[in-house]
Amino acid sequence: MARVFWCILIRDLTLAMRRRTDVLTTLFFFVIVVSLFPLGVGTERKILEILGPGVVWVAALLASMLALERLFAADYEDGTLEQMLLTAQPLSLLVLAKISAHWILTGLPLVLIAPLVGMQYHLTGTAIWVMMLALLLGTPILSLIGAIGAALTLGLRGGGILLSLLILPLYIPVLVYGAGAVEVSRIDLMDVQPYLMLLGAFFLIALILAPLASSAALRISLE
């Protein structure tokens, strides 16, 4: 079982490394969206400190969502996905491997670039640490939930817009607690704990249920 997981994970990562620009596009999209806000709302320090966490999270939501289309699309087009459905291995395990690869390629870079983005918004050192921790817990949830939508909209015309319509409402809890954690860390660092614990709980629930739902969705889309 673990071998299958690793096999798919390494394969997806290798494929992505052959075309590195795809990974960088998501990352730069994130940076550009975050950089646009100060130009729109003004560069006053106080406003930016308040807006910062929310803007970073919304940008992370959008970046992770835009990358979702690629999760199954290439494998769907060349028929690999159908072969995966036919294997004796549990489909949800294969899907989980693909989601993990997707997160490493789109979620993890966002976590790592967060300090840089945080500095644009004059966030303090602790706030940046909290934001990185919240993103580390939150971005996998985005990939997990997003995979359900990506599987449902596989091969549809106008898939991208439709995907955002389906998935963005489901992202709300992550946004609320992710941004909330950074927000309360400016008042008292101890208040951060419940937010991070709830994010962790969401992560565990999504980790169990999302691969099952996505593989059910894949079977519907490919039957």
Binding site: L152, L165, L166, I172, P173, Y177, P194, Y195, L198, E223
Partner: protein, 252 residues
Amino acid sequence: MSLNWFKLASPASFYPVAGRLVPLFWILTVGLLLLGFYWGFFQTPDQLGGSNAQKEYYRIIFIHVPAAWMSMWLYMVIVGWAAIGLVFNTRLSFMMANAVAPTGAIFTFLALWTGAFWGRTSWGTYWDWDPRLTSELVLFFLYIGYIALHSAIDDTRRADRASGLLAIVGLVMVPVIYWSINCPDPTQCAALHQRSDLTRIDGNILFSMLIMTLGFWMYSFATSFMRLRGIILTREAESAWVRELLSQENPK
């Protein structure tokens, strides 16, 4: 009298049954709504609440609360039919889920719309990020997502199953979304909706609210069945019984 439920699960045999039920539900709708409006306008007190009383405008409650209840209930109905369809592979249950969705979306919109007017008069604002307002808005998005996904897929079988799965995922998320908007610490964010408690409401107000809810419910049945008949005819257009039906109605 024993009723064969499995017979009704076939679109061909449910089509005439729905046709006979539609006028009945319309009569019930009109009757209940007239009674509800009469009771709501003439048998209830002119104002609501104690020190900071809400005057005549509180009567929006007779549209607002039933619409909000129905919006949530109809989503459950969609999920229920979708789940039955996914498990038992029945065509009619997906058609039913599909027929209910627009009515549910309209009730959600109606609840938000009437809420905005009520909010304007009593809170002084059309919109606020109150937990219930926000979760009703999210419910509206879920309805729109369901309808959009269904209409984006040309293959009916895939459309039914995919949007059904989406509805179920949405239902799992609803409590999570509700509590996340409601925030973990209630002292930190104020909610504009006071805690509702049906036992504290004046009997006449409660009566007209419940009558209006029943009226809306019957309206949902009537419109869903009408839509269902349309869906059945469209999907079964190639089958023998529909051709026969059409040739009876339009003899050449």
